[in-house]
């Protein structure tokens, strides 16, 4: 059991990371990762929706015939996202003002449908919830990493406005890395996001290859990628 959860964790955060390995969910990724704070906000909102969605799908999986699973999942996801949006707007209004922009964008994240379809619809509830949590955290990791590099290169700051998202106690996160930085426009725009994503993917491949070489076993990265595409 524990080994299984360990594998789910490793898959979600690294081996089968939504962005780094599966390369899906790129639309929200590129849209919001201008800054690390935005990436974090989008990531956390996605975690919440993914856990809720995986849990729900896993609960009702026995009832759903494969022929109509996709429309049902779409209805469920759209419902959860809208509920989260309304509830946050009403009772967590300050947070909603910051994250509100991202929540409707979550619907466009095919990774959520992907996990519901590929994992949650075939696994018990606990595993599905864990998978949602870990895949979501892995997505958050990718978003924050990409947001942070773009923000440092594009504006010379790191976690700007983090206290608006997380509250005043997190203002220590806000850093000015390069003072009097004139800005590097390309990185703030979506093409910069694509470029940076390319570098990060290359970096991940490099690390994986090193790890594989150290453990002196044949590299599995190539297999993973072909398997998914």
């Amino acid at each position: 059991m524990n080994a299984e959860f360990g594998k789910i964790t490793r898959d979600g955060l690294w081996d089968n990371n939504i962005i780094f390995s599966q390369s899906i969910g790129l639309c929200p990724l590129l849209a919001v990762t201008g800054t690390a704070t935005n990436g974090l906000g989008m990531g956390l909102a996605t975690v919440a929706v993914m856990v809720a969605c995986n849990t729900l799908v896993s609960y009702v999986r026995a009832l759903i015939p494969p022929e109509i699973r996709i429309p049902i999942f779409v209805v469920l996801i759209a419902m959860i996202v809208t509920l989260v949006d309304m509830v946050m707007n009403a009772w967590l209004h300050e947070l909603h003002k910051v994250l509100g922009l991202f929540i409707p964008l979550i619907v466009t994240n095919c990774a959520i449908l992907g996990r519901a379809e590929a994992y949650a619809s075939r696994q018990p509830v606990a595993q599905a919830a864990m998978d949602g949590l870990m895949m979501g955290l892995g997505f958050t990791l990718a978003l924050v990493l990409l947001g942070a590099t773009r923000e440092v290169l594009g504006a010379g700051t790191l976690f700007a406005n983090a206290s608006m998202l997380l509250g005043q106690s997190f203002s220590w996160l806000e850093k000015v890395i390069v003072h009097d930085y004139r800005g590097f426009l390309l990185m703030a725009l979506p093409p910069g996001g694509f470029l940076m994503l390319g570098f990060i993917l290359a970096g991940k491949q490099m690390i994986d290859r090193r790890l594989a070489a150290r453990q002196s076993r044949p590299a599995t990265i190539g297999d993973t990628i072909t398997e998914i595409s």
Binding site: G34, V87, A90, W91, A188
Partner: protein, 237 residues
């Protein structure tokens, strides 16, 4: 209804329930059936709509209150506190002139001190932004000079055009005190075009659109000044 009827009904309901339970005994076979799939899809839609409907009912009031608070918070940024003693959200007048926002009409918030209109605030939409219109809230005193301008919503480039936001830079404050009298039409431009207002390094289109938007807002006020500063009494509206 007699006792017998009731028992009969209960028996009938129990029967149907048993029948329904039996259907689910062989889930594999049930899942293959077209009618089951149709009903399931309909049920999913129904449950989702019901849940959303209830959630909407539960959150609607709260959301409206929060939005009113937000609007009031923004209004107080463009209308200095000493200028009014009325409830800004309640005291509005609708002008049938929407040239500035494309809606066909403009809702104007009236700031009154002891019954006299001392200032007005209204939303307008500045066309010609880099990525679509920019929504502005403009506060003017009764002589048509700008008390404050704030950007309500925009889709400009982060890091470049977003310096029009108050929390990103002080640029938006450069409108304060401007009017059509003290700034001639040629000066209502960004410096690059020979006017008075700064542009941003790498972004001229955004400030240009905002300057033009504020100027057109002043024009709107000038056209309707009489109605706005001495509106007809409440009952006549």
């Amino acid at each position: 209804m007699s006792r017998v009827d009731l028992e009969h009904l209960r028996g009938l309901a129990a029967n149907r329930w048993q029948w329904l339970r039996r259907q689910f005994d062989d889930l594999e076979a049930l899942r293959q059936r077209l009618d089951y799939q149709t009903y399931l899809l309909a049920a999913a839609g129904l449950v989702a709509s019901l849940l959303l409907g209830f959630a909407d009912l539960a959150t609607q009031g709260s959301i409206e209150r929060r939005q009113a608070e937000d609007l009031l918070a923004t209004l107080t940024q463009v209308l200095p506190a000493g200028l009014y003693d009325n409830d800004l959200l309640q005291d509005t007048i609708t002008i049938q002139d929407g040239a500035e926002n494309g809606l066909g009409k403009t809702e104007v918030y009236l700031a009154r001190k002891e019954g006299e209109v001392s200032a007005v605030a209204f939303k307008l939409s500045a066309a010609g932004g880099y990525s679509g219109p920019i929504s502005l809230l403009v506060g003017l005193n009764r002589d048509g000079a700008v008390l404050g301008v704030r950007v309500l919503a925009h889709a400009e480039t982060p890091g470049l055009g977003d310096k029009i936001e108050r929390n990103k830079s002080d640029w938006i404050l450069s409108f304060e005190g401007r009017s059509l009298e003290n700034t001639t039409a040629e000066r209502w431009r960004v410096k690059k075009d020979g006017g008075d207002f700064d542009q941003f390094a790498g972004a001229t289109i955004t400030p240009r659109a905002v300057v033009r938007g504020v100027q057109s807002g002043l024009g709107f006020f000038q056209r309707h000044r009489a109605e706005l500063v001495s509106p007809p009494p409440k009952g006549a509206r």
